[in-house]
Amino acid sequence: MTKLTVVELKLLTREPGAIFSLLIPLFILVVFGSSIEPGDTVLLPMALAIAVGLVGLYMLPTTMATYRERGILRRLSTTPVRPGNLLVVQLILQLVLALTACGLLLAVGGTVLGAHLPTRVLSGVLTFLLGTAAMFAVGLLIAALAPNGRAANGIGVLLYFPMAYLAGLMQPTDQMPDILARIGEYTPLGAFRQSMQDVWAGGAPSPLLLGVMAAYAVVISIAAARFFRWE
């Protein structure tokens, strides 16, 4: 299990997509960060949502669907090691990737750009975990349904833009049509961004939105598990 984790980690660092998931949100943060007021509470939650969205919708499903497509899960099931171990290792590493991306954003945003960092650390961590769980569940469902890695990649990219728009990542929510902004708040990524923003503003995240993210995480994971095929 240790060796499997080490090798998978090496493979992840050789994956250009992983580097992009780290750099794209950072790039956006830096570009828009040059014009923010000191103590800004909006940009960092957006950047975090972009990072978690990229990992959940793009990296996770593409990697897993590719592993199935290449028969790597099948090959593993001929050894004493269960292929489920590989999925667990992948989930952990993708979580580490999302954490790294967010850590990088917080570090750069909080120091160089002078953006606000929240004091409610526990609420922030809880929101991060629930939001990441919801996005990873969506990623797992894509991996379960996509016939191959290329398709998973395509679906991920296709889903990313509407989800990012509804979450208010392309346009501030107050400039969006009211109805879309309302709906968007209850999408996995929207609930994540809104809750993060609440934390940044110094308040507690709405229990309703936390519940919404938890519900997405559970329901979509169950669907993913139902549709998942090893081959």
Partner: protein, 303 residues
């Protein structure tokens, strides 16, 4: 001792019957061939034996274990090369071997395998950059890294050039010499003829014969021909010899058609009458002929 015992194996997918009562056993230390045209259920059979697919009926014992119930214990003792698998593009050769070795309780030293399978200078190459032959050698090395008692190799030379196939064959013989029982799935006659101690011939989900390659060829009674050119001496009457079914002569060229071992009788008769011939050729009967005789169909037409 039988290492693998398969009795009345059955498998269907929806309304397609893929295996219809397949039985065979594999002895310790042999290379056992599973031969047949594409789509006849060879892969399905071995994957049931490996425990990757669940049969609908029949019984399987591998090393005394049930592949479904004792899967974990069995997988410690078998090595598998699957027909359609790849590794991650970016994994290095040594990393793959090191990783797969870590899956087993008593693995082989993968550095030795690297040498044995001619991959030492590709040690740090990524999987995606290997040639077809190198990938195939890596797959076989991975199948052996757990120090298995039985190795399953499915279409191991598909897509290789003739030179690479020959090299692979020599290496497979070495695997047998090291005491590993090998189950070799192939749709290539020449490969099976070259490597296998015994062969099960598959046709449309059943086994039509199990024998040594030579036994299969001898077992068929197909007509074949011998040809020669008369050098000196007068032609003798050959038509009455045992097995001979026809003699034609065009100038000094003679073609004798017959069944069984008629060629020995013909050469003896020629020698007895001091007839000198040159350019003597006896058409070799092959597994192809055996397949046609067994199934009434040609092997290649079913591809």
């Amino acid at each position: 001792m039988a290492v693998i015992e398969v009795t009345d194996l059955r498998k269907r997918y929806a309304d397609l019957t893929v295996l219809d009562g397949v039985s065979f056993s594999v002895e310790e230390g042999e290379i056992f061939g599973i031969l047949g045209p594409n789509g006849t259920g060879k892969t399905t059979t071995v994957e049931c034996v490996e425990g990757l697919r669940r049969p609908d009926g029949g019984s399987i014992k591998v090393l005394g274990l049930d592949p479904v119930k004792d899967g974990r214990k069995l997988r410690e003792q078998i090595g598998v090369q699957l027909q359609h698998t790849q590794l991650p593009e970016n994994i290095k050769v040594w990393e793959a071997l090191d990783l797969y070795a870590s899956f087993y309780a008593k693995p082989r030293n993968w550095r030795e395998l690297l040498e044995e399978w001619g991959l030492a200078d590709k040690r740090n190459a990524r999987f995606g950059k290997l040639s077809g032959g190198q990938k195939q050698r890596l797959f076989i090395a991975l199948a052996l890294v757990g120090n298995p008692r039985v190795a399953f190799l499915d279409e191991l030379t598909a897509g290789l050039d003739p030179q690479a196939r020959r090299t692979t064959w020599e290496l497979i013989k070495r695997v047998r010499a090291s005491g590993v029982t090998v189950v070799l799935v192939s749709h290539f006659m020449d490969e099976v003829e070259e490597l296998c101690d015994r062969v099960a011939v598959f046709d449309r989900g059943t086994i039509v014969a199990i024998d040594t390659p030579a036994g299969l060829v001898d077992g068929i009674d197909a007509e074949h021909q011998m040809r020669f050119t008369l050098m000196a001496g007068d032609m003798v009457e050959l038509g009455g010899l045992p097995g001979v079914t026809g003699v034609t002569r065009t100038g000094s060229r003679v073609v004798v058609t017959g069944r069984g071992d008629f060629a020995t009788a013909v050469t003896a008769e020629l020698a007895r009458h001091h007839v000198l011939v040159s350019d003597l050729r006896i058409d070799k009967r092959t597994l192809d002929d055996a397949f046609v005789a067994l199934t009434g169909r040609s092997f290649d037409a079913t591809h």
